[in-house]
């Protein structure tokens, strides 16, 4: 990963530099026109958020089963990704909704689901920060429960919503838009890989510094 890091950074930077161009050239969506284009960044943010959530849950399970410190590093990285990219999604969502339908918040299934999952992983990070020593294991439990909760939240909010039907948020993808869309998804996913690599490395360095402190006492 070390050797790939720099070339990958260059690739991702280039993709993000090019993305606005692709987005500008993509056709307008019929009803929402320019406003809809926020969707090219909005939806990939959700992809990263859910990937982060599942990474956190999977790593937490490994951590609890095997006690591997490295798994814990991946878990905290996943949670932070979920929170940061979730925040991006939660900000772009209302901006879009405001312009498209005139309301800031929609109790749309996906938006509500994202909000709940975001809150769960914010709670994960709060626990790690304020829970005192040994809170890594406790947080691992929260990570697993949080991910297990996702289908339940989806179904419950979905059924809740069918009783009060409203317009859906994600429009259908016209042919010209697909290229730009998947390009942006790829850019975000590669960015996520970069961030995971950098963040896990940071945690490993932190663990190393702790080790050095300990050896100082010897």
């Amino acid at each position: 990963m070390q050797r790939l890091f720099l070339p990958l950074t260059v690739v991702v930077a280039a993709m993000f530099a090019y993305a606005p161009l692709m987005i500008a050239n993509a056709p307008f969506e019929s009803t929402m026109l320019l406003v809809q284009k926020i969707f090219y960044f909005h939806v990939p943010s959700w992809f990263v958020m859910f990937s982060g959530a599942f990474l956190c849950a999977g790593a937490s399970a490994v951590y609890l089963a095997k006690g591997s410190r490295d798994a814990d590093h991946y878990a905290v990285t996943g949670a932070e990704l979920a929170v940061v990219f979730g925040l991006m999604g939660l900000i772009t969502g209302p901006l879009w909704a405001r312009k498209a339908w005139g309301v800031w918040w929609e109790w749309d299934v996906k938006l509500t689901l994202a909000l709940i999952v975001w809150l769960t992983f914010v709670a994960y990070l709060l626990l790690r920060r304020y829970g005192g020593p040994g809170s890594e294991k406790l947080a691992a439990g929260v990570g697993i429960f949080g991910a297990a909760n996702i289908p339940f939240v989806y179904y419950s909010v979905n059924w809740w919503r069918t009783i009060h039907p409203k317009t859906t948020v994600v429009p259908t993808l016209g042919p010209g838009m697909r290229g730009a869309f998947w390009f942006c998804v790829l850019a975000f996913m590669l960015l996520m890989v970069l961030i995971v690599a950098a963040r896990v490395r940071l945690e490993r360095q932190r663990a190393l510094v702790d080790e050095l402190f300990l050896e100082l006492e010897d």
Binding site: P133, D210, F213, L214, E217, D218
Partner: protein
């Protein structure tokens, strides 16, 4: 499941950036009473918690006979009695109820009889039905010692057993521990009260800054030995 030795092999335990135990090696055999001495914060409670299987070492191994804590599981826990600094008794229950609960939890046979015996040993028969929250520190300590010994454990771990005890109780407890040792238990206790345990212990070790050193008590007694280690 039974064992006749407790072995710590290069055990290290870290809490974040603090090394509580640093490559501690110690072997205790059945029929030995060992005092674990050292200043506050030296890691004595951590060592006892690891011996009790409540904490795992960051590195190194702990063996009970030939088994590890993981292999031993619940059967191993049945052979360990632990008196911690927090006494592990429910303040809202009476002395008898506390003992009965823990006896049943540890699947002690003839629980009622064992509880009666324990209350007699602790000299608490006349207060047996009073809630523990009305007890003095010394009384709670006596109860807690009996609670740890209810299930006739092989390994007896005691964190400052003499705290709060008056002279009579100290004498009684000393006699109790001596009997345990003679019966073949492994007794590991921590204390600040060197005079009390002088005649009682077979061996003494000092834990200081996470490191363990043995003392030879035959050269001038415990206090002299302790001073030698502390000043070196």
């Amino acid at each position: 499941m039974d064992f006749d030795s407790l072995t710590f092999d290069e055990v290290t335990r870290n809490f974040g950036r603090r090394r509580a135990l640093n490559r501690v090696s110690l072997t205790c055999h059945a029929g030995e009473l060992i005092a674990l001495l050292g200043p506050n914060g030296a890691g004595k409670s951590t060592l006892l918690s690891i011996a009790a299987t409540l904490l795992t070492p960051s590195s190194g191994t702990v063996r009970y006979g030939s088994q590890s804590a993981r292999d031993g599981g619940a059967a191993l826990r049945a052979r360990i009695g632990f008196l911690a600094h927090d006494l592990f008794v429910y303040p809202e229950l009476s002395a008898a109820e506390n003992l009965w609960f823990f006896a049943r939890l540890h699947a002690v046979r003839d629980a009622a009889q064992v509880v009666d015996g324990a209350l007699r040993q602790a000299n608490l028969q006349d207060r047996r039905d009073d809630p523990v929250m009305t007890f003095s520190r010394g009384m709670r300590q006596r109860l807690a010692i009996e609670r740890a010994l209810l299930h006739a454990p092989r390994l007896v771990l005691l964190d400052e057993p003499f705290t709060g005890l008056d002279d009579t109780a100290v004498v009684a407890t000393r006699a109790r521990l001596s009997v345990l040792r003679d019966r073949g238990c492994i007794v590991l206790l921590t204390t600040h009260d060197l005079e009390t345990v002088e005649a009682l212990v077979d061996r003494a070790v000092v834990l200081s800054g996470g490191r363990l050193t043995a003392i030879d008590k035959n050269q001038g007694g415990l206090r002299a030995g302790y001073r030698r280690v502390a000043t070196s």
